[in-house]
């Protein structure tokens, strides 16, 4: 187990370093740089040279990367050109916003998807499982881009929920937390509902498979009430395959949150990175990518370790086939 965790940690570190390095180098070799993009080609040659020197863009890629890496080891990730602030100060707040959004979405997905999946999977035919299944098929065809457009449309029409941003300009009655929750509804549901549909399908499949196992029939034959068999015995067997998928969900959460952040103007990592990419704000791009990779590494690590604790078979095979699942 310890060896397994150590190996996973090493992979996580590699992931973060590789992703931020790659994005730094890629953004640097991309045509155009911050000075060109921000002055729109209007500045004099002399000023461009001066600005470039200020940001360290006059160095060769190798030298710039070396300096950045040397500074990054001391937790100095460079200065954002666009905001004229250290990247280290900019990222945490945005990353926290993305984390709030992603975790709420995950909560919605789990809270909605798993129970419905258990209900749908434990019965054969009937109106309720059919309705759940149809709703899932529809939602599975609506990726976050579409759900958020749809929910924004509904929210704007009815005026029930705010459609953009994270906080109101003035703190309304009810306090800051309630205001934040109010703003969370649309973007979190937009990411969470398609995921809930996916979890529901998986859980239903695992459930109907578990119920077909001989031990369930045996328990039923002993006279244990059906609901107890479903919600206790079969569920225990059916949770494992679903738990395995959580490691892969982290990536889907981040991908989904990008579209949603842009559409509902959520001040998270995705919108920060988009702005940085468009202005060629090299260090900020690398910082955002690194933070995203950290998220990803942390999420997969937690879910993998949790899975390994539940199911000892995993730690032996996981290093080999996790991503292929």
């Amino acid at each position: 187990m310890t060896r397994y965790i150590a190996r996973r940690l090493a992979f996580s570190a590699l992931l973060v370093v590789a992703v931020s390095s790659a994005s730094l180098v890629l953004t640097r070799i991309a045509p155009g740089d911050y000075v060109i993009e921000s002055t729109a080609g209007q500045a004099s040659r002399l000023r461009i040279e001066k600005e470039r020197a200020r940001y360290g863009l006059d160095k060769s890629i190798g030298a710039q990367y070396r300096d950045w890496l040397a500074a990054a080891v001391r937790l100095d990730f460079g200065r954002s050109m666009q905001y004229d602030r250290p990247v280290r100060d900019l990222i945490p707040e945005r990353a926290a916003n993305t984390a709030i959004l992603a975790l709420t979405a995950l909560l919605i997905a789990t809270g909605v998807g798993l129970p419905l999946g258990i209900v749908a999977g434990s019965r054969r035919g009937g109106l309720v499982p059919g309705a759940i299944r149809s709703a899932s098929v529809v939602l599975l065809s609506m990726p976050p881009l579409l759900t958020s457009l749809f929910l924004v449309f509904v929210a704007a029409r009815t005026g029930w929920f705010p459609i953009a941003g994270m906080r109101s300009a003035t703190i309304p009655a009810g306090g800051e937390v309630l205001d934040l929750l109010h703003h969370l509804v649309v973007p979190a549901a937009a990411i969470g509902l398609p995921l809930a549909a996916m979890l529901e399908r998986l859980q239903a499949q695992a459930m109907s498979q578990a119920i077909g196992e001989p031990f369930v029939l045996a328990t039923l034959a002993r006279g244990v009430p059906r609901s107890r068999v479903v919600w206790r015995d079969a569920l225990k067997a059916a949770l494992r395959p679903v738990a395995a998928i959580y490691g892969l969900i982290v990536g889907a959460l981040l991908s989904g949150s990008f579209a949603v952040e842009v559409i509902s103007a959520w001040p998270g990592l995705g919108t920060l990175m988009l702005g940085a990419l468009r202005t060629r704000d090299v260090y900020l791009v690398a910082g955002c990518a690194g933070a995203g990779a950290l998220f990803l590494a942390f999420g997969t690590l937690v879910s993998d370790v949790a899975l390994a604790l539940v199911d000892p078979r995993v730690s032996e095979t996981a290093a080999e086939g996790r991503a292929g699942a």
């Binding site: 054969r124 599975l140 881009l145 449309f153 077909g212 981040l254 509902s264 990419l277 995203g292 292929g324």
Partner: protein, 333 residues
Amino acid sequence: MRNNLVTRRVGLVLVTIAVAAAGTAPFIAPHAVDEHFGGLLNAPPTIPRLIDADGSWHLPFIHRSNRVSQLEQRYEEDRSVRVPLVWLSRGRLVRSANEVDAPLLLLGADSYGRDVFARLVFGARISLGLAATAALGGMLIGASIGGLAGYYGGPMDEVLMRAADFVMVLPAMYVSLALRSVLPLVLGARDVFVLLAAIFAIVGAPSIARGVRAIVRSERRLEYAAAAQALGASDMRLLARHLLPAARGFLAVQITVLIPAFIVAEATLSYVGLGFPDEVASWGTMLHDASTNIRVFADFPWLLSPAAAMFLVVLGLNLVLQEDRRGDKTQTP
């Protein structure tokens, strides 16, 4: 099981309609993609009717939309005049008899006064064409990598699969975004098409490579592979003629999974302004036009029709893909 057959057929119909609409766009669209109607900015759909205000029946006709408020861009139908529809004129399936004052706008007009329906069917060419091209490309790359890795094994297999794993862990949307934005930000439509197809293919290839590798690896051990080799088939022939065809079913499923993802990826990139240039009609750029103020979707819901089209195509593909979950060996007591 019968239920499944019906839904699968519904899915097939949805996909066929979308592909047919894309194929026949110049015929079924009443207008060109860039035709502006200056007096009809954000005009609502003109609804083809059969019964006029007095209750008598006619051949299909429409009413003219008159602007009531320029500021709010509200329109009202002029019920007093019937504008008949003209079929099969000037190479178009159907047009209004009075195209200048009362054009046929089946899905309304966008903020530049362009026909949303025309842009939707022409946009299907780009959106669906790009997704299909990228999926085919991803399949070619993935199948070759997976085939080689599975056939030869050894260190090459190790390196290729590690690399594939690495790309697969990353969120696909961010990889596409990063790859797209390190290329020149402003490009022509043709270049964007090729670049996006290449990027999506690269992002989609690893999962295909992994699956193909597993299939080739296990097929290679079977007797027919040994027999072919004994008869003198070269490595390449064995791989291409005998082993890769075993992955056909897997590849077909993967393509149906990738195409919806690519349609949405194009839309997302175009939405944030990193996809096709604005004058090109794709489902993403159509949404992009309205993205400056998200509220326009609430005031002019027909601007969401590309999102609805995307939903229907993705739903169609999902329904086609649906596996038989009922009727298999599991039984509910």
